[in-house]
């Protein structure tokens, strides 16, 4: 295929093969998230939280990763909207469904945590936690381990606009930018301009969260996280800067939150937000990169895959109550005080 789609600046372009791949992953992520919501709504899960509306940014973040295990590869400190990134890195629908359905086979938590609380050591994806800020301080540590490593692994940490009000966000800016001790950190804020139900304007005085990085002489970017082309190109630039310069970069991506904060707010589609997938598909069809029929087939492929995954996972066993003490300590060490 020779067709190319240029970004708004007209300075770079992505091949149609890459555009189709990005779209495919965005659809997979969206269909998966909508399947997770259905699982919740049919009473087969206690809770859903996820990332519909962040696919353009999230898929690019995952596609550009130097994926592997250990300090020579990129570390990922994601918050609970990481499905698109992990789908791009290779997450299977089955594993995401095992997580939300609290199965013994859940490879991330063993049935102990919410949906989107992923953990994949083989890709340096450290455990996602529910507090909205702690990943920013923990990320300091992996970046410290990478700072003096001759390989070019970096630390990626993501969060939301509301979470940037927490002190840990400020901590990460301070620690990442100390002169002579700069850390190879790509700090991102996915700004959907709302924290649960509180509007951005009720939480922030700054126009751009990314501007906070400027006080620390940090390179910053504000990007349209609804545009997969811009997201890919800007994230590529950001990754390369951090990887080569070994310095931090703060990137703010404007994104949508299409199904509310979580199932706690109903997990219903909110049409007040822009849908990056619909917009992208219109562009792809306009440039004859994909036809409407081809797009429908992609959705059907992933709808079928998600349903098959549900059918399979549904029959898998739940965690056993007697395993509750397991992994409190490493190496199987007993943690039950009654047995000391």
């Amino acid at each position: 295929m020779s067709q190319k789609l240029t970004d708004s600046s007209k300075t770079s372009s992505l091949s149609s093969e890459l555009l189709v791949k990005i779209h495919d992953l965005m659809v997979k992520s969206r269909v998966l998230e909508e399947r997770l919501i259905k699982i919740y709504k049919t009473g087969e899960a206690y809770f859903w939280i996820g990332a519909p509306g962040e696919e353009a940014f999230g898929v690019a973040l995952g596609l550009l990763a130097n994926k592997g295990q250990g300090v020579e590869y990129d570390y990922f400190h994601l918050h609970y909207r990481g499905t698109p990134t992990l789908v791009a890195m290779g997450l299977t629908m089955e594993d995401s469904i095992r997580l939300i359905m609290n199965k013994e086979t859940d490879p991330c938590t063993g049935g102990r945590n919410f949906s989107n609380h992923y953990c994949f050591p083989e890709w340096n994806v450290v455990p996602v936690t529910s507090p909205i800020e702690v990943q920013y301080t923990v990320a300091i540590g992996t970046a410290l381990a990478q700072k003096n490593n001759p390989k070019l692994g970096i630390t990626v940490v993501t969060g939301g606009d509301a979470g940037s009000a927490e002190g840990d966000f400020a901590s990460s800016l301070i620690w990442a930018s100390r002169p002579g001790n700069e850390l190879p950190m790509l700090l991102t804020v996915q700004n959907n301009r709302v924290g649960i139900s509180t509007a951005y304007e009720d939480q922030h005085g700054e126009e751009y969260i990314a501007d906070r990085g400027k006080a620390f002489r940090m390179k910053t970017m504000v990007i349209n996280g609804l545009d997969p082309v811009e997201s890919y190109l800007k994230l590529k630039e950001a990754y390369e800067y951090v990887r080569i310069e070994r310095k931090p970069l703060l990137l703010e991506a404007r994104v949508s939150r299409l199904y509310g904060h979580s199932s706690a707010s109903g997990a219903n589609f909110e049409d007040s937000f822009s849908d990056p997938l619909q917009t992208f598909e219109k562009t792809l069809m306009k440039h004859s990169i994909l036809s409407e029929a081809e797009i429908k087939n992609i959705y059907k492929k992933y709808e079928d895959e998600s349903w098959e995954a549900v059918e399979k996972v549904r029959s898998e066993k739940p965690p056993r109550a007697e395993t509750v003490w397991d992994h409190t300590y490493a190496q199987g060490e007993n943690a039950d005080w009654r047995k000391f």
Binding site: C119, T137, T142, L144, S171, H327, T328, F340
Partner: protein
């Protein structure tokens, strides 16, 4: 004989030269100061962080996720309280991901009263620390045990909270750390940084040896038959002193146990002692309401009820918001010798 600060320093040196410690950090931990108690002077991997406790704990967790052994310090435990959710995170990391990650990290912090530290340099943290599942929590009481316990903490694959009784930092030990020179003067000349300009100074480390105090094992400091006293940290030295005086005076024979590990704790040693003496007193400095000693007393009551001759007792700090600066206020707020002795007398007189 080394004091506790010197023993920490030597253990950390042994850790960075033999046990793979790559990063030792905290506020004022690196040069020129080497820690407000001098416990990190001269260490090659020690460095200063921003004055940011959350950053310190977060960095330790992140390093642990990479498998990098590190020892972080919170300068006083009075300033650890704003890291509670990060401490919870460190404790639940392995559990919440079903063992996919472990955190081989040590977090040191000085605790307790005894240096006239007023409201924000006198807190205890052991009761709260015991409510952080996933952590191991220890508190040594002598320089040699500090050395051995810190080596064990460094090599432990789990997060270890190393509580240091700050009032004992300058107390010399009665036993040499293997490899330590024979005199205090020699040791000081080798590893204490000089006053003034230290930019050209490097320590001359003694040829230290590997000594371990296993985490989770208590130590019977004095055997006895009339009652059992269980304590740790600064208080255990007071308990031992009082027990020795009472023994010498022929008043009673008290068994004194240094718990050393607050969690996991050595119940079998405590239990065996109570089964022998049938009376037990738990002593520590933390505030008395929901005190860790209360948990031990509960367990003693529950498991040994029909063997007890008296209700288990807890002597702890008053449940006041802080330790007042004036000597009279500090003395009344945390257990001291006369109070411990009085409790022992009272308990010894009780009969079921």
């Amino acid at each position: 004989m080394a004091n506790m600060a010197q023993s920490i320093r030597m253990a950390l040196h042994y850790g960075e030269t033999h046990l793979g410690v790559k990063e030792i950090f905290g506020q004022d931990v690196g040069p020129p100061m080497g820690g407000v108690f001098t416990a990190t002077q001269g260490l090659k991997t020690a460095w200063n962080t921003p004055l940011d406790e959350r950053g310190i704990v977060g960095a330790a967790i992140g390093l642990g996720l990479t498998g990098t052994r590190c020892v972080a310090e919170i300068q006083f435990c009075d300033y650890i309280f704003n890291t509670i959710d990060l401490l919870k995170l460190a404790g639940n990391t392995s559990w919440s991901c079903s063992g996919l990650y472990h955190l081989p990290i040590v977090l040191m912090t000085p605790v307790g009263a005894g240096i006239r530290g007023s409201i924000y340099h006198s807190h205890s943290f052991d009761a709260l620390a015991s409510r952080l599942p996933g952590w191991k929590v220890v508190m040594p009481s002598t320089p040699l045990e500090t050395y051995g316990m810190l080596l064990s903490a460094i090599e432990d694959p789990n997060p270890v909270l190393f509580l240091v009784p700050k009032a004992l930092m300058r107390i010399k030990g009665e036993e040499l750390i293997p490899g330590e020179p024979g005199t205090e003067k020699e040791l000081k000349a080798m590893i204490d940084a000089p006053l003034g300009d230290r930019s050209q100074w490097t320590p001359k480390w003694p040829a230290l040896k590997d000594v371990r105090v296993p985490i989770g094992q208590a130590k019977v400091l004095q055997e006895g038959t009339d009652l059992t006293v269980v304590s740790y940290g600064r208080s255990v030295r007071m308990c031992l002193s009082e027990a020795q005086k009472l023994e010498d005076a022929g008043e009673m024979s008290a068994e004194v146990i240094d718990l050393r590990s607050i969690y996991p704790y050595d119940w079998q040693t405590v239990k065996a002692s109570i089964e022998k003496t049938r009376k037990v007193l738990f002593v520590n400095e933390d505030t008395e309401v929901t005190n860790f000693g209360e948990h031990l007393a509960y367990r003693a009551t529950r498991e040994l009820f029909y063997e007890l001759e008296a209700p288990p007792q807890v002597l702890a700090g008053l449940n006041v918001p802080g330790i007042g600066l004036h000597n009279d206020l500090e003395e009344v707020s945390v257990p001291h010798g006369p109070q411990i002795r009085a409790e022992m007398f009272q308990l010894n007189q009780l009969r079921a």
